[in-house]
Amino acid sequence: MLLSAVALLTLLSCSPEPKHSFSVSEGYAVNTLKVYASQAQVEILFDPTSVRGIKTNALVGSHDTESALEIMTRGTPLKFNKDPKTGAYAILLDISKVPEAPTKQVSSTEK
C-alpha cells in the first residue's frame, strides 16, 4: 500500500502544466514581462536595468507558462530560470546572446 501510494504520488507529480490564455503585445520587456506574469498568474523577478531596451515578441493563444515565456523571449538576449519548487521565474540577460555592440552598452549601464 505504501509503495502504491508513493507510485501514485510520483505519477501525479508528473502531470502536465495547465495552460493559460495569453494576449501580450510586442513591446519593451520591462512592461511586457509584467503583463505576462499577470496573465499567467506566475511570480517573476528581474533586474530592470538588465532588460532595458530589449523588446519581447507578441504572445497570443493558450500556452503553459514556460512555453509562453519561451515564445516571448525567442530571438532576444533574454533567458529565464524557473524555481522548481514554487514555479517563480527569474528573467535574465543572456550575455552569450547579446550582439557585440549592444553588449558594451548593456555592460556599461550595469556597472
Binding site: A5, E43, I44, D47, P48, T49, D83, G87, A88
Partner: protein, 352 residues
C-alpha cells in the same frame, strides 16, 4: 467507552491516536465519534498539537499529489456498520489487517513528513547555510465555493451536512470567504463559541482563552454552543451580530463567555490581516524596500547584511508569503547568498 485513553505524555500513543483521527475525520465522523473526538482534543494540549501536526502532514501529502482534500465529505452514519457486525471472522480479520495497514502507512508517511518539517534538528541545520525552506499560507477550497486561508499554526475540521456547513477551528488563525447558501448556514465552531456567517468574509483567531473575530464583509452572529438559531430580529443581547468593520473579542471563561464588540478601522484591518497572502508588485524598487514589505507580512524575516546589495533594484510580482521562492531566485540568479541566523531570520549578502 472512549477507546482513546492515551497518557498525556505518551507521545507515541498520542501520535498514533492523532493519525487514526485524521483517517476518521477524512471519511466523516459519526455523531458518537464527533463527541469522542471533541473530548480527545479537549483532554490535552498535546492531543491538539499532535492532531494539528498530523493534519498538516496529511494535507501536505494531498498537496504533493495535487489532489483536493477530502475532509469536507458528509458524515456517513453507516460507515462503521461493517465493523459492528462482521459477516465472518475471516472478513473481520481481513478488514482489521487492511485498516491497520492503512493506519500504519499514514502514520509512517505522516511521521516522515512531520519529521522532515518539524524536527528540532532542522533548526540547528538552518544556521549552517541550509537552503531556505519557509512554509506558505495554505488555502482550502471547499465544495460549495467557500474558501479558507489557514495561517501557519491553524488547523480546522470541515464537517458539511445537508443542514449545516460546519468548520471547527482547532487552533490558530483562519480567514473565511463564505459562499451564500441561505438553506445551509455556515458555522465556525471555536471552543464552544459558534460564529454563524450571514454570507460574508471574516477572520477568526483562536488563542488559549480568547477568540478574536474580525468581519471584513457582511455580518456574523456570535452564538454559544448550545443555543438554537433565532431570527435576526430576535437576537438576544448576549449573542450579538457583528457587522462589517467590527470585531468581537470573546473571552472564554468557565461560565458564560464575555463578548465585546468593537469598531475597527481599515488600517487596523490591514494590520490584523497582513498574514493573508496577496500578490505584491514592485517596480524598480531597491531590494531594501522589497525586503521590508516581505518582513511586514511574514514571521520569517530577511535582513540585508551587505552594503553592496542595498543598491540592487528589482522589478517583481510575488506572492507575499513566498519568501522561500524569492530568496531562492535571488540566490540562483542575482549573485546573492542567503544564510539562516536563528530560526526566523535570513541574512542576505553578495556572493563572494
Amino acid at each position: 467507552m472512549n477507546p482513546y485513553q492515551s497518557d498525556y505524555t505518551d507521545y507515541t500513543l498520542i501520535n498514533q491516536e492523532a493519525s487514526e483521527w485524521i483517517l476518521k475525520t477524512d471519511r466523516g465522523l459519526t455523531a458518537e465519534e464527533q463527541d469522542q473526538f471533541s473530548d480527545w482534543l479537549a483532554r490535552s494540549k498535546a492531543h491538539k498539537e499532535a492532531y494539528v501536526k498530523h493534519r498538516w502532514g496529511w494535507e501536505e501529502l494531498d498537496r504533493l499529489a495535487g489532489l483536493q482534500t477530502t475532509h469536507d465529505l458528509p458524515v456517513n452514519p453507516d460507515l462503521l456498520i461493517g465493523w459492528e457486525a462482521p459477516h465472518s471472522s475471516k472478513k473481520w480479520l481481513r478488514k482489521w489487517k487492511e485498516t491497520s495497514l492503512a493506519v500504519a502507512a499514514i502514520w509512517v508517511l505522516g511521521t516522515f513528513l512531520i519529521y522532515t518539517q518539524f524536527n528540532p534538528s532542522d533548526v540547528e541545520e538552518l544556521s549552517k547555510n541550509t537552503p531556505v525552506v519557509v512554509e506558505r499560507i495554505r488555502q482550502m477550497d471547499l465544495q460549495d465555493g467557500s474558501s479558507i486561508e489557514l495561517n501557519h499554526d491553524a488547523a480546522v475540521l470541515v464537517d458539511y451536512s445537508a443542514e449545516e456547513r460546519r468548520v471547527q477551528l482547532l487552533a490558530g488563525e483562519a480567514s473565511f470567504d463564505i459562499a451564500k447558501d441561505p438553506k445551509r448556514p455556515f458555522v465556525v465552531d471555536v471552543s464552544g463559541i459558534r460564529f454563524r456567517a450571514l454570507g460574508t468574509i471574516f477572520n477568526v483567531r483562536y488563542n488559549q482563552n480568547e477568540v478574536d473575530l474580525i468581519v471584513t464583509e457582511g455580518r456574523v452572529q456570535v452564538m454559544e454552543q448550545e443555543d438554537e438559531y433565532v431570527e435576526e430580529t430576535q437576537t438576544p443581547a448576549h449573542e450579538p451580530i457583528v457587522e462589517q468593520s467590527q470585531r468581537a473579542i470573546v473571552t472564554l471563561t468557565e461560565n458564560r463567555p464575555n463578548i465585546q464588540v468593537l469598531e475597527i478601522d481599515s488600517h487596523q484591518i490591514i494590520d490584523e490581516l497582513i498574514w493573508r497572502p496577496e500578490l505584491i508588485d514592485f517596480n524598480q524598487e531597491p531590494l531594501s524596500v522589497i525586503v521590508d514589505e516581505f518582513n511586514r507580512r511574514n514571521k520569517v524575516k530577511m535582513k540585508i547584511d551587505d552594503e553592496q546589495l542595498t543598491s540592487l533594484r528589482l522589478t517583481s510580482i510575488f506572492w507575499s508569503d513566498n519568501v522561500e521562492g524569492f530568496v531562492r531566485l535571488l540566490e540562483s540568479n542575482f549573485e546573492v547568498s542567503a544564510r539562516w541566523s536563528g530560526e526566523n531570520l535570513i541574512l542576505l549578502s553578495r556572493n563572494r
